[in-house]
């Protein structure tokens, strides 16, 4: 049991996909305008990661070595399509807000990266916890970034205004603010890593 918890926890801090591995930054930056979007994207990516990790771990011995990447992509794309259709049916507003970044989960480096680096070698249960950990780590990173951007860029958190007199800096809601923030956060995490 302890092993599984370890598998789960490593994705959150030690191997956080966003801040430590620097993977899957495109959707991170694009959808982190508000916390709701960030959570939605995080859950969608977690579902895809879980599904693809488990399925790939199940069929890893059946896949021929040379065509493994296309096989992984088909598995991943299937789960992305499931996510896309579910989101369209039950939460059209979120689907509109995330736009083309939902189908683009297919090419999210985290998903393919975990399939290639982990699920293709590990057992099903381990892959499950690895996928869950990575997904939660990704979601937490998204929440952190989108909370900072929503607060500083629009003066709100989850739609509420915590400080009335706060004058938001609009640039953080713009693309350039996202790039600046991720640059500073990556630098900050580098600094922490070095201090240790």
């Amino acid at each position: 049991m302890k092993k599984f918890i370890n598998q789960f926890l490593k994705g959150i801090i030690r191997e956080n996909p966003t801040f430590v591995l620097a993977l899957g930054l495109c959707p991170t930056l694009a959808v982190s305008v508000s916390v709701i979007n960030g959570i939605g994207m995080g859950i969608a990516a977690t579902f895809v990661l879980l599904g693809s990790n488990v399925i790939i771990a199940l069929i890893k011995n059946k896949i021929p070595e040379r065509v493994r990447i296309p096989c992984y992509i088909v598995v991943i794309a299937t789960f992305v399509t499931i996510t896309e259709l579910t989101m369209k049916a039950y939460s059209p507003a979120l689907n509109r807000a995330l736009g083309i970044y939902v189908p683009l989960i297919v090419v999210n480096c985290i998903v393919l990266g975990r399939a290639e680096a982990y699920a293709s070698k590990a057992s099903v249960v381990n892959s499950f916890f690895d996928g869950l950990g990575m997904g939660v780590g990704f979601t937490l990173a998204l929440i952190l970034i989108s909370a900072i951007r929503e607060f500083l860029g629009a003066g709100k958190i989850l739609g509420f205004t915590p400080i009335k007199s706060f004058e938001p800096a609009f640039v953080l809601a713009m693309p350039s603010g996202a790039l600046l923030l991720i640059g500073l956060l990556l630098g900050f995490f580098n600094l922490i890593k070095r201090e240790k």
């Binding site: 896309e84 683009l104 900050f188 070095r194």
Partner: protein, 202 residues
């Protein structure tokens, strides 16, 4: 189909909604390969070629396979498969026909399969130039042109970035922000300046 439409696509794909600086597509390759100008140029040319070709191919698939048979929900899976196959095919052809070109593109070509810009432009085309599951007039030309323009926008951002980063090699940079973090901060300033194109009216 008229000229102003093409101009609009050009300006918006290259400047206003630049793939990298505003849409954040293909960010991984942008940060990883922009250290020197030559590889950056090779990557950009490869991306431009693939975005153009995949725009054309996915248009045909969408128009003549997915829409008539009511299979539009298979968009993601079919597009990514076609793109992956196409890239693999191009790689094989180039290796056979022109070894120098193959060395020039090197490892960058297979990387393009998972470049979000390529799938992104295909998905964008299918959303922008198809209304209610029907192709708008001239949608094939618009799609192809948008593919070229997205590639151009990628090249522009890539060349600017690699030029700046080559100069930065000689500077004294705090260790914590060296490489990736600094590249993002530079990209942020570039994106800020590209925001100036937002007010473009014609």
């Amino acid at each position: 189909m008229d000229v102003t439409q093409f101009l609009t696509i050009f300006i918006s794909a290259v400047f206003i909604y630049n793939v990298i600086l505003s849409r954040f597509l293909g960010l991984c390759s942008f940060i990883a390969i922009s250290k020197e100008t030559r590889p950056a140029l090779a990557m950009s040319l490869a991306v431009m070629f693939v975005t153009t070709m995949s725009s054309i191919i996915t248009w045909f698939i969408y128009r003549f396979l997915l829409i008539p048979y009511n299979l539009t929900y298979l968009r993601t899976i079919s597009f990514i498969l076609v793109i992956a196959t196409f890239v693999q095919f191009v790689e094989m052809v180039i290796r056979k026909i022109s070894p120098p070109l193959y060395r020039f593109f090197g490892i960058y070509l297979p990387l393009i399969t998972v470049n979000c810009a390529v799938l992104g432009v295909a998905v964008l085309n299918s959303e922008m130039f198809f209304a209610n599951n029907k192709a708008v007039a001239g949608s094939f030309f618009y799609s192809t042109f948008q593919g070229i323009c997205v590639g151009l926008g990628y090249t522009l951002a890539m060349l600017l970035m690699s030029g700046i980063r080559e100069r930065l090699e000689l500077c004294n940079i705090p260790k914590a922000v060296k490489d990736f973090p600094l590249a993002f901060i530079i990209a942020s300033i570039m994106s800020l300046s590209f925001m100036g194109f937002n007010g473009f009216k014609f």
